[in-house]
């Protein structure tokens, strides 16, 4: 069971996490007649974490409430993310929540989504 900011907003449906690589910012400078390059390390910047999944709700109103609650968390505040395996990631910003399509009516209401976090070092 995953959590973000202490809330289990994604448990209505299955979801997956994909970790991106940690990214360092660097400046490379070359000089005439010299092999190689001067690399200035500006430090660790962060990494992206992608989440894909499906939200499910018994009514359209409840689905829109759920989506609104998730969008509220995209407020620039770093939070704690716990994935489906219990792995904890700290200093995580929810950057983007994007429905992959319309809210559909199947057995109930459902909506597939993509979500992107940014973890600070």
């Amino acid at each position: 069971m995953s959590q973000f900011a202490g809330q289990t907003l994604f448990d209505s449906g299955p979801h997956r996490f994909v970790l991106g690589p940690w990214q360092r910012q660097r400046i490379r400078r070359g000089f005439c007649g010299l092999d190689g390059a001067l690399v200035i390390d500006l430090g660790l910047r962060g990494r992206s974490i992608a989440q894909t999944g499906r939200l499910q709700a018994p009514s359209a109103a409840q689905m829109h409430e759920l989506i609104a609650a998730i969008e509220t968390l995209a407020n620039g505040q770093p939070r704690e993310l716990i994935d489906n395996h219990g792995q904890v990631y700290s200093n995580v910003l929810l950057e983007e929540f994007e429905p992959a399509g319309p809210v559909q009516l199947g057995r109930g209401f459902f909506c597939d989504y993509h979500l992107r976090y940014w973890q600070l070092p």
Binding site: G13, P14, H15, G53, R54, N84, H85, G106, R107, G108
Partner: protein
């Protein structure tokens, strides 16, 4: 067990279609599975929109060939029970003719297969109805 001796009164968009030999009605909603992390089986199976497809096999080729693809109307027919001659009426409102297939064979009756898909005017009413009559 339901066993029927005849298919009668096949009508599409007001036009009678004679010599029907069989009708296949397929009602289906495509499964939309979704898995979470490390799940071997989908933990969510949602379903797509309902589709109702009908294949009507008949030997009345002139009637079949007089129809036009895309034609819309009510498709209805009755089946007559072997046991007591009671009738079951099946009706498909908003049937759209999407296929006409004819087969001419040497020394055998020519046959036609008419394919229909059903639409619902406002997307909520089930176009399919069936009921028994004494």
């Amino acid at each position: 067990m339901s066993r029927y001796r005849a298919i009668a009164d096949v009508v599409f968009a007001g036009a009678p279609l004679g010599l029907a030999s069989s009708l296949r009605i397929r009602r289906r909603r495509e499964p939309l599975p979704s898995c979470g992390d490390a799940q071997a089986f989908p933990s969510s199976i949602q379903v797509g929109p309902s589709t109702i497809l009908v294949d009507l096999h008949l030997r009345d080729l002139p009637a079949a060939e007089s129809l036009e693809l895309g034609q819309v109307g009510e498709l209805s027919f009755q089946v007559i029970s072997c046991q007591d001659d009671s009738r079951r009426t099946v009706c498909l409102a908003g049937a759209v003719l999407v296929g006409i297939e004819t087969l001419y064979q040497q020394d055998s009756p020519a046959t036609a297969v008419l394919s229909f898909a059903a639409e619902s005017p406002e997307g909520l009413t089930d176009p399919f109805t069936a009921g028994d009559q004494p």
